[in-house]
Amino acid sequence: MATTTATLTLTSTDLLTDSLSLSATSTLYKAGTTTGLDSIQYEKLEVAAGTQYDMVDATSGGANKANKVYVANKHTDATKYVEIYIAALQIGRLYAGDWMLIPLEAAAATQDVSVKAITSAQVIEFALIHEGKTLAAS
């Protein structure tokens, strides 16, 4: 089995009166087990403006797993952002330099994870760490 860890370090010396220093580390396991996720898809993509594109097809990775999705907006203009969707629901905006890490439920075939670049094309990095996916037949 593979061992993959995700570590978060959140820090600020001036957001609060006292310093904020939060650290969290998780080992990425298959759902309900202590067996590590052993497959990965890692890409760098240019997303054209104005259209919603799927990053993760909800049917390919399996529903109700512990798969993880990482997305980073690599743009450098702070005014630019991409919108992140699950199905038709906009979850949030990733501005230039932002990243996110979420678990992926993919509860229904319609619950793809998708991205839409606003006002201009933007480059994103995207990783799906998973326990195996179904390739589409050609």
Binding site: T9, L10, L15, Y42, A72, Y81, Y85, R93, L101, A127
Partner: protein, 159 residues
């Protein structure tokens, strides 16, 4: 302005033939600017001992402005890797869209649009000339897989 940074490190030496090492640091800024976010809920802890779906973070109970650059951190502090918290966006009394499962020890950090519905219950919906299907307030919902008492930590950064 405040300077708050969030660094992620994703590493593995054996998920592929070559080692995986992703490291990325973001500064939490207000939407469309390089000005640091200055508001937060602070780090909160909540004990949940029920498998009933509830709102973990209710927009109406925060000062989050919709469609900005808010970020949400959530961690399942349990050590039980066979039990999970199912995190969604929507309303616990409705039909939230599920993001995913946080098993014991898992954490997540994601941007949050925090959209309230409008008069027709479809804020920013296609019917309103938008593109989203916000049939309910975008609260953050949580549903444990059983009634084992579990401590969930969460924090929101917002403007």
């Amino acid at each position: 302005m405040a300077t708050t940074t969030a660094q992620i490190t994703l590493t593995s030496t054996d998920i592929a033939d070559n080692a995986l090492s992703i490291s990325n640091t973001m500064t939490l800024t207000t939407a469309g600017t390089e000005t640091g976010i200055t508001e937060t809920t602070g780090l909160a802890r909540k004990k949940i001992a029920s498998a009933t779906e509830v709102d973990l973070i209710t927009i109406a109970n925060t000062d989050v402005t919709a469609l900005k650059s808010a970020k949400v951190y959530i961690k399942n502090t349990s050590t039980a890797t066979d039990k999970y918290a199912l995190i969604g966006v929507g309303q616990a009394t409705g039909t939230p869209i599920y993001i995913g499962r946080l098993y014991g020890g898992d954490w997540m950090l994601f941007p949050w649009s925090a959209i309230l519905t409008d008069g027709d219950g479809q804020a920013a919906s296609i019917a309103d000339g938008g593109t989203s299907a916000h049939a309910a307030n975008d609260d953050i919902t949580i549903k444990m897989n059983d009634s084992t008492e579990t401590v969930i930590e969460y924090m929101v950064f917002f403007e």
